[in-house]
Symmetry: C2
Subunit: 303 residues, 2 copies
């Protein structure tokens, strides 16, 4: 019998989506950071849809502060809207919690969600609470709508060979602290799509080694990474930068000719956040082959 | 320390929603079957948002057929759209499963979701998969968008004292089979809002004894139920009809003067599905007081 741990998340998703009706005319193909819905030609904005889940023991430990867990659950979704050039709007929060959970824990979780919504400009539109058996892990699932102006929509699939690859911030070591307290790059991506619109963009949730191949594949490209250029979090190795995951930084592609102008303008706009050229897209079949990163359902969980 | 099992679901939700930013101008108040979003005066339809979750051991047993679990997870959401006079559109499916779950189980779950979407007219727009620890319960969380024509929107909160109360189908005994195989009353509610628009409507998920007080409270009313009129599932008692839950039938209020016409027309339109007058709304503070029904987080779970 084949089990989920035998095939991994990407293969599982490919098998599952064959079994259900899909949008016959999607505004963007499946597999991007969010689903994109076109409300019709008279509308300046497209709707974005996203769902994401945090599981106790997998994405956070039982002793993690509930407020930080709530922030993280909400910020992960905001990060996906940012990665498409959009903004968050309405949130649906599902809590599946053991009955012995302290009410104060749930309240602090919601305080963290509320802080993130206030900071990023979303509102709670609805929710669901359910018990799980007393020995089961808590699950927090957040679905949300967002919006993006048509001309700002930035997919994973629209880059070409020769485009430069850049990342915001530093990579690696997220689990020490940042994974519970990261700031979604909403302001930065809003600036990018207005001033130096990338040819492709995604947020780094599973590690560069897993996420970059996804962007390259979606764009029909290969990729080359200059490991010596990777912006490492202090104390981290290249391998950690590639594989730790949960950086929630932005990976973007842009025409080589625009890189110098972008870097100069970025330094003036966001002096405290690095933007680093790390490599380039190449023809499909050429370039590097990265391995590692976070894999759900894997045998011997990496974290 | 106060725990979730001490306060119950409704009290928990009241405490939580104070802690987050809410829509400053919602198209409908909180606490209805779905959230309602008004896209602006030029639009004939409103958007509906809903999220719902199924938890192993709570909403289904480990030996339940995965295909039926998938159908149920999807049909519960469709039922909420139906209860507001709307239709389902785009679905986001989150699976949080133990790593040893057979791939075939997840595939059969998705087949059930696909059958429900095909039957009810929705599409999959996105999803999320995550592992849970090997000993944790599986959680299936489904969020979806729907739409409702402005003139068809039917809330819980718009009925008045004196309006008659009716239910579709029969009540009680759902856990024997129906809870995994029910048909959302989408066709029936679509007909109702076009021909005999109710003054209030909701779907019965937690049992009439718990759900009717919610509708009455939302409408600022009390209620009277004629127990002898309750349409009982074969072999069920009145107490089961009131308290079992998961009937997924429709509870509706309508002006007393329109009941005879509605019942006559209904019999011609839906000859195989009962529609039964069970009581009426009265002034707030008057009438009956029902107790029981399904309570999440309760000590000594009722089912």
């Amino acid at each position: 019998m084949i089990r989920l741990s035998d095939i991994g998340e990407d293969a599982l998703i490919r098998r599952l989506i064959r079994l259900v009706p899909l949008d016959p005319a999607p505004a963007a193909g499946p597999g991007d950071d969010c689903a994109v819905v076109d409300p019709g030609p008279g509308h300046a904005s497209l709707q974005l849809l996203k769902t994401d889940a945090l599981v106790e023991h997998i994405h956070f430990l039982p002793d993690a502060p509930a407020r930080a867990v709530g922030w993280k659950a909400c910020a992960r979704v905001v990060s996906d809207f940012a990665a498409m050039g959009g903004r968050p709007e309405r949130f649906l929060v599902t809590l599946a919690l053991p009955p012995q959970t302290p009410v104060a824990w749930a309240e602090n979780l919601y305080r963290g969600i509320g802080e993130c919504l206030t900071r990023c400009g979303g509102v709670l539109a609805g929710g669901e609470t359910s018990s799980v058996p007393p020995t089961s892990a808590a699950v927090i699932s957040i679905a949300a709508t967002g919006s993006v102006r048509r001309e700002h929509l930035t997919l994973r699939s629209s880059a070409h060979p020769g485009h430069a690859l850049l990342v915001t911030g530093t990579l690696g070591g997220s689990r020490l602290a940042k994974h519970l307290a990261f700031t979604p790059r909403l302001e930065e991506t809003g600036w990018l799509v207005s001033h130096f619109k990338p040819t492709a963009m995604m947020d780094l949730s599973d590690g560069l080694a897993r996420d970059l191949p996804r962007l390259a594949l979606a764009s029909g490209c290969g990729y080359e990474v200059e490991r010596g250029l990777l912006p490492l979090t202090a104390g981290c190795t290249v391998e950690q930068a590639l594989g730790d995951g949960e950086d929630f930084e932005i990976l973007l592609a842009i025409e080589e000719s625009r890189v110098a102008g972008l870097l100069a303008a970025w330094g003036g706009e966001f002096p405290e956040l690095a933007l680093t050229r790390i490599g380039r897209l190449v023809k499909a079949g050429d370039g590097d082959s990265l391995h590692g990163g976070w894999e759900h359902f894997a045998k011997g969980l990496a974290k």
